[in-house]
């Protein structure tokens, strides 16, 4: 499930909805990005998307992550528009049989979203607004996955009935 939304979303409700009736899934990893800022600040940042294109591009990467890491399911919820401090920007949830794959897929998807997903982000800091581009760290993070061979299913098995 991939969703772009201009409205605030409820990370806990999303997590619970995602996990409902998953008898075969042992491992659920998630990442939640929260807008940092000063209390009282109207918006910490503003995110622009090219909705249909953004949705398509994320769907391609999600499909490749499902394949590479052997995932049962993925949710990506990404806020767009103006985001006040303290509100959720992005939630990525990955489900798999074992924890290693869920963690790595979640990490991979966040690296992708940070530096290659079609969003444009403007931050409102003390020095005024500025467009954010991927940092050297972000580029190094995503490059890890280009270098690595696929890892899904390659790790040692965990216990049979839970992750």
């Amino acid at each position: 499930m991939i969703r772009l939304t201009e409205q605030p979303f409820d990370p806990g409700a999303e997590l619970n909805g995602f996990c409902r009736d998953r008898l075969g899934v042992g491992a659920v990893a998630s990442f939640l990005g929260i807008a940092r800022g000063e209390p009282g600040q109207a918006s910490a940042l503003e995110l622009e998307a090219y909705p249909l294109f953004t949705q398509n591009e994320i769907a391609k990467i999600v499909a490749s992550a499902v394949d590479r890491f052997g995932l049962h399911d993925v949710a990506v919820i990404h806020r767009i528009g103006a985001i006040p401090p303290g509100e959720a920007i992005v939630l990525v949830i990955t489900a798999s049989a074992h924890r290693r794959e869920a963690f790595e897929a979640c990490d991979f998807l966040m690296d992708y979203l940070k530096s290659r997903a079609p969003f444009w982000k403007r931050e409102f800091g003390p020095a005024g607004p500025r467009w954010v581009e991927p940092t050297a760290g972000d580029l190094a993070d995503i490059a890890r996955w280009d270098r690595d061979a696929p890892r899904g299913g390659k790790t040692a098995g965990a216990a049979a009935t839970n992750e």
């Binding site: 990005g33 398509n56 530096s115 290659r116 997903a117 079609p118 982000k121 403007r122 581009e133 991927p134």
Partner: protein
């Protein structure tokens, strides 16, 4: 008629986000010149590193021939999350 979309700082430099160009520039390079006409800063930014182009929701590299009614988006470096 071709619909042009600008995002991020490209839209800020142009002062607009969406505009129609007609009757129909035949190629991407011709369109890029039209879009940046009279705006040196925008011309530089459009030619800058990391700016990608999507035609009808598909990324294209280099030159492209544009059909009538094409939607062309200029995409500066991306950052989400």
């Amino acid at each position: 008629m071709v619909k042009v979309l600008l995002f991020g700082r490209l839209a800020d430099l142009a002062g607009w986000r969406e505009r129609d160009f007609g009757p129909g520039p035949p190629s991407l390079s011709a369109l890029r010149s039209l879009v940046a006409a009279g705006n040196q800063e925008l011309a530089g930014a459009l030619a800058g590193p990391g700016v990608q182009v999507a035609v009808d929701l598909d990324l294209v590299r280099g030159e492209a021939i544009l059909g009538a009614g094409a939607e062309v988006a200029f995409l500066p470096p991306m950052s989400g999350g």
